[in-house]
């Protein structure tokens, strides 16, 4: 549990047109952020079925990030 909170695994759903593009731009600008996020690209955050979020938690995600 302690390890979980200090090094949480976060699952992100990123909209291709905005948040995914922004994440690319963060890379181009060499911004540094913690390496805890694993992302899934979607064409719109509207694609995120609530079941995906529950499934993410069931798979051990400490948090779900939806960027759109």
């Amino acid at each position: 549990m302690t390890e979980q909170t200090t090094n949480p695994r976060i699952l992100g759903f990123l909209c291709n047109w905005c948040c995914y593009a922004a994440a690319d731009a963060a890379g181009v600008s060499r911004y540094q952020y913690p390496p805890n996020l694993r992302t899934i690209r979607v064409m719109c955050t509207g694609r995120i079925d609530p079941a995906f979020i529950l499934r993410g938690f069931a798979q051990g995600a400490a948090g779900i990030f939806a960027g759109g």
């Binding site: 695994r9 699952l11 291709n16 995914y20 593009a21 994440a23 690319d24 731009a25 963060a26 890379g27 181009v28 600008s29 060499r30 911004y31 540094q32 952020y33 390496p35 996020l37 694993r38 992302t39 899934i40 690209r41 979607v42 064409m43 719109c44 509207g46 694609r47 995120i48 079925d49 609530p50 079941a51 995906f52 499934r55 993410g56 069931a58 798979q59 051990g60 995600a61």
Partner: protein
């Protein structure tokens, strides 16, 4: 990016234009390509050379606020994505030494042997779009620029605000890098200033100053910002709303004053300014931003003489109101700020219009010389999943942080992965050949590339798949550069673990990806143009010139629209001439069917395949006809507003109160007499009364009528009461001319509105004169109201076509800046007053642009559909129609099956692949191509699998 990728656009950067011979349809243009000393085909834009280059160079791209190296790329998204060497600073090119970059470049792209190359291009038309030039430093020096580092231009400030700018998006004073607490913007620097021979208004500075101020406030909410202006010219669509937001939400202060002087004051700057009442004030600031105007490009004269066209008095391109994009040389067109100062949406509109005009010129040669690629036949991937994983080093961009061999090996151990490898640059040409080879050798039917972003490189790899005979959807990309090695540069182990996870998730998805069909939908090559005014007629004629049939639907009994009510334009051109020319050409053209007294009753279908019912009134009877067409252009226009409130009160009725349009008609013709005295009231009914927005043309209209009155009778007294004179662009000259001829312009404030009253046959106006600082009463012979423009019938039509309108009932474009004439529904375009109020010249350009955009599907004859669209399984669908109501693109329709059941069906041509339908379908009947529930779920499961996390 898109232009760079098109096989039919060749970009010659770093090139000089040397000469133009020939005639429209058959020009020879001479250009000289300067060497970039880097082979653009080999360069992978990894950036290693810049890191090793020992020489410093002032970074022009960052307005000299940062330092770069002679070997560099201006910005990461530059097209072509290739570095170049600035010969002015390169040690080797200047002194024959160094050459450090040569061994550093791993793709051996550096070539100091390159020589300038001259080329003769055979072209049919030429479009001039050199942009704008800079205001001279001499003019800027009047405001302390060059003397005090914290006086910056707005262009420099724009770079300061940019995350890729010199301070990574933080606003800091140049002098000591402190965060400024107080920032001042000074408007009209180098514009509306005869001192530097720029009599015109640059049109864009008020709006960009507001934008920059708001962005600065977003960066640092504590910062106090004041904008010093003469008139806030936010005349564009929704611009006034932005200005109100700046004032009310962001707390940005607007002060109407002229700044006389900027002087250092301790470690700050002191502004001296004079307000309207003539009093002087002082105010300290940490930073002063000069809102610099747009000047003609530096080499405008050279360009004009080389290409053989004329310039106007300010060295912008000379054009006429009714042919706004034609230069004085036939076949040579202009687009963008070289036509006159303008913002992005207008520049984009002009470029579309110019492209359409050029396409008309080249009509007979259409299709010749275009490049279309052919591919081998697609193989059936078969049942067995065989995945190949390619992990990219990207030079040291990925390999320097992530353990690439380790990640590749890890991928090799996954289920269904039959091949794995690593490559130095997987985007290079030889790497593509290698991928094709491995697909053949190992019979791969799924390809996973772990490299950079799919947003930039997916099309490239998909192309390779197609070349290898695989469906392009059998591809999955893992972003381990932009979203991994670059952002975790100091955590190699964590970055490697993340790369492994991402590859695992991608492979899990890849096991479930399926080939998707490449779909095209045929197009009926005809257009429906709604509205027979100047916009509709121009659009129909333009399409006809490009060889396409159109139906021009006009509600009233005759063509012309608002042109029928206009006498002359501000520039003095006769509206009747344009009307005669346009309507004659429209009526004569075999490809245009004009339907007057007609209205659209019903529309069905989608891009390429619309069917419309058009109702035509014939006396008391009405007939209906069905028309098949591929595209729709909305040019339904607008009309003079009839205000319900004027200056905050009920309108006063009197024969002596007229609108500007009625006044114009009174003043038309040779026998017209000028009234002895006229008071004009601007923004009557607009900007706060019934209409929230600015109608853009009323100030010009007032100036036009005022000048006409003065021309008829110089002794006539003309007073214009205004809030802000918005005679933007070259119209500023006529505003000045009006003042020189004795027209009196008096500003009024919204908290002290003029009051109109009528008694008997007399009309009276009371207003406060801020210069006299006293209340004034006048009883003019005529009172002219500038009442603004409202759109015609957008409420009804927007429902019929399911197209959104903005808060002011004008159509909302697909993208304000990048797709200004396209509407959110594919195949529907807008131009003219239905889009927003605008003068004739801008309407013509917009109509040409709408026709150019509409012609794209008509020329192609089909619409290509991205394979990643939704698909409804009608066996599972229960016909609840939830998806049809949720779809933002009207891309799902309900159809009736043979057994009478209602089921949903995707209109693939309209689907944008967002997946809202799939995530809401209660029976999981909808699957999204490339993003199915199964694919995403397997990614989530793979995310959870941690078996190899700690190795």
């Amino acid at each position: 990016m898109e232009a760079g990728r098109s096989p039919n656009i060749e970009i010659l950067s770093n090139a000089d234009f040397l000469g133009l011979e020939g005639k429209p349809g058959a020009f020879t243009a001479k250009v000289r390509l300067r060497p970039r000393y880097i082979n653009a085909d080999k360069c992978t834009a990894c950036g290693l050379c810049t890191r090793y280059c020992p020489r410093h160079l002032v970074d022009d791209y960052n307005e000299g606020l940062a330092i770069t190296r002679p070997i560099h790329i201006d910005y990461p998204q530059a097209v072509p994505a290739s570095y170049f060497i600035d010969p002015r600073a390169c040690l080797h090119l200047q002194h024959g030494t160094c050459q450090i970059c040569v061994p550093v470049c791993r793709s051996k792209a550096i070539d100091f042997g390159q020589q300038p190359e001259e080329r003769a291009l055979q072209v049919g038309a030429v479009i001039m779009s050199p942009g704008f030039g800079r205001i001279s430093e001499e003019t800027l020096a009047k405001f302390g620029f060059g003397k005090h580092p914290d006086v910056v231009t707005s262009i420099e400030f724009e770079r300061l605000l940019n995350p890729s700018g010199p301070f990574k998006g933080e606003v800091r004073c140049i002098s000591d890098k402190r965060h400024p607490h107080r920032i001042a913007f000074i408007q009209c620097v180098g514009s509306r200033d005869l001192g530097c021979d720029n009599g015109y208004c640059s049109s864009v500075c008020c709006m960009y100053a507001i934008k920059e101020a708001m962005v600065a406030k977003e960066h640092d909410p504590e910062v106090e910002i004041t904008i010093y202006y003469m008139d806030m010219r936010t005349q564009g669509k929704d611009f006034d709303a932005a200005r109100r937001r700046a004032e009310e939400q962001f707390g940005i202060k607007f002060v109407r004053a002229r700044v006389a002087d900027v002087m250092p004051w301790n470690d700050q700057l002191r502004l001296t300014y004079a307000t309207l009442s003539g009093s002087h004030h002082f105010e300290p600031f940490d930073m002063v931003v000069l809102s610099v105007g747009l000047e003609a490009p530096k080499d405008a004269k050279g360009l004009a003489s080389t290409a053989g066209f004329e310039l106007n008095q300010y060295d912008f391109c000379k054009t006429s109101t009714f042919a706004p994009l034609a230069t004085t040389r036939p076949g040579v067109l202009v687009a963008g700020a070289f036509h006159g100062p303008k913002d992005i949406p207008e520049s984009v509109t002009q470029s579309s219009a110019a492209a359409g005009l050029a396409a008309g010129l080249l009509r007979t040669q259409r299709g010749q010389g275009t490049v279309t690629k052919s591919y081998p036949a697609e193989q059936n991937p078969g049942e067995e999943v065989r995945i190949g994983v390619f992990v990219c080093h990207c030079g040291i961009n990925i390999g320097g942080v992530v353990d690439v061999p380790g990640v590749a090996k890890y991928a090799g151990g996954m289920e269904d992965v039959v091949y794995y490898t690593e490559s130095l640059y997987s985007c290079s040409q030889d790497a593509q050949e290698a991928i094709k080879e491995k697909i053949r050798q190992h019979n791969l039917n799924r390809v996973v590339v772990a490299a950079c972003s799919p947003r930039t490189h997916e099309p490239l790899f998909q192309e390779t798949l197609k070349d290898a005979g695989l469906n392009r959807c059998l591809f999955e990309m893992v972003n381990i550069r932009d979203q991994c090695s670059w952002v975790h540069a100091n955590e190699p182990e964590a970055a490697t673990a993340k790369s492994r996870d991402l590859v695992r998730m991608a492979v899990a998805k890849a096991r479930h990806i399926k080939p998707l069909p490449e779909q095209t939908v045929p197009v009926t090559p005809k257009a429906l143009v709604l509205g027979g005014g100047v916009a509709g007629m121009t659009a129909a004629l333009n399409l006809a010139e490009q060889g396409f049939e159109s139906f021009l639907i006009e509600k009233s009994g005759q063509l012309g629209g608002n042109l029928l009510k206009l006498d002359r334009t501000l520039q003095g051109d006769k509206a009747a001439d344009l009307l005669k020319e346009l309507s004659a050409a429209v009526k004569k053209h075999k490809l245009i069917t004009v339907l007057t007294n007609s209205e659209l009753a019903e529309v069905n279908g989608f891009v390429g395949n619309f069917t419309s019912m058009v109702r035509t009134a014939n006396g008391k009877k009405a007939s209906e006809q069905s028309i098949s067409h591929g595209v729709i252009i909305i040019a339904t226009g607008g009309r003079e507003h009839v205000p319900a409130r004027v200056l905050g009160k009920e309108p006063v009725a009197s024969k002596k109160i007229v609108t500007q349009q009625a006044l114009e008609q009174q003043l038309a013709g040779g026998k017209a007499k000028a009234p002895a005295s006229v008071v004009m009231v601007q923004c009557a009914g607009s900007r706060g009364d019934d209409l929230a927005y600015c109608s853009k043309v009323c100030c010009n209209h007032a100036v036009k009528n005022a000048l006409r009155i003065k021309a008829l009778d110089p002794a006539s007294q003309v007073v214009v009461l205004y809030r802000e004179m918005r005679t933007y662009g070259f119209a500023e000259d006529l505003y000045r001319q009006a003042r020189e001829q004795g027209v009196i312009f008096i500003p009024y404030a919204t908290d002290r509105m003029p009051e109109i009253s009528a008694k008997g046959s007399k009309v009276r106006i009371d207003f406060y004169d801020p210069i006299l600082q006293d209340q004034v009463t006048m009883e003019p012979e005529l009172l002219a109201l500038s009442v603004g423009i409202v759109p015609e019938g957008t409420k009804e039509l927007s429902k019929l076509l399911k197209i959104p309108v903005n808060a002011d009932d004008f159509y909302l474009e697909a993208h304000v800046k990048l797709r200004p004439v396209e509407l959110p529904v594919s195949g529907v375009y807008v131009c003219g007053l239905a889009h927003s109020p605008k003068p004739i010249e801008e309407t013509i350009v917009q109509a040409q642009a709408a026709a150019a955009k509409a012609a794209i599907p008509l020329v192609k004859g089909h619409v290509e559909v991205e394979p990643t669209v939704s698909h409804v399984d009608q066996e599972i669908c229960i016909g609840c129609s939830l998806c049809t109501s949720l779809c933002p693109y009207q891309a799902i329709q309900m159809v009736q099956l043979e057994n009478k059941q209602r089921r949903a069906q995707t209109i693939v041509a309209s689907c944008k692949g967002c997946g809202i339908c799939a995530s809401h379908c209660p029976t999981f009947a909808i699957s999204m191509g490339g993003f199915t529930d199964q694919q995403i779920s397997s990614q989530i499961e793979a995310f959870g699998r941690e078996e190899n996390r700690n190795d």
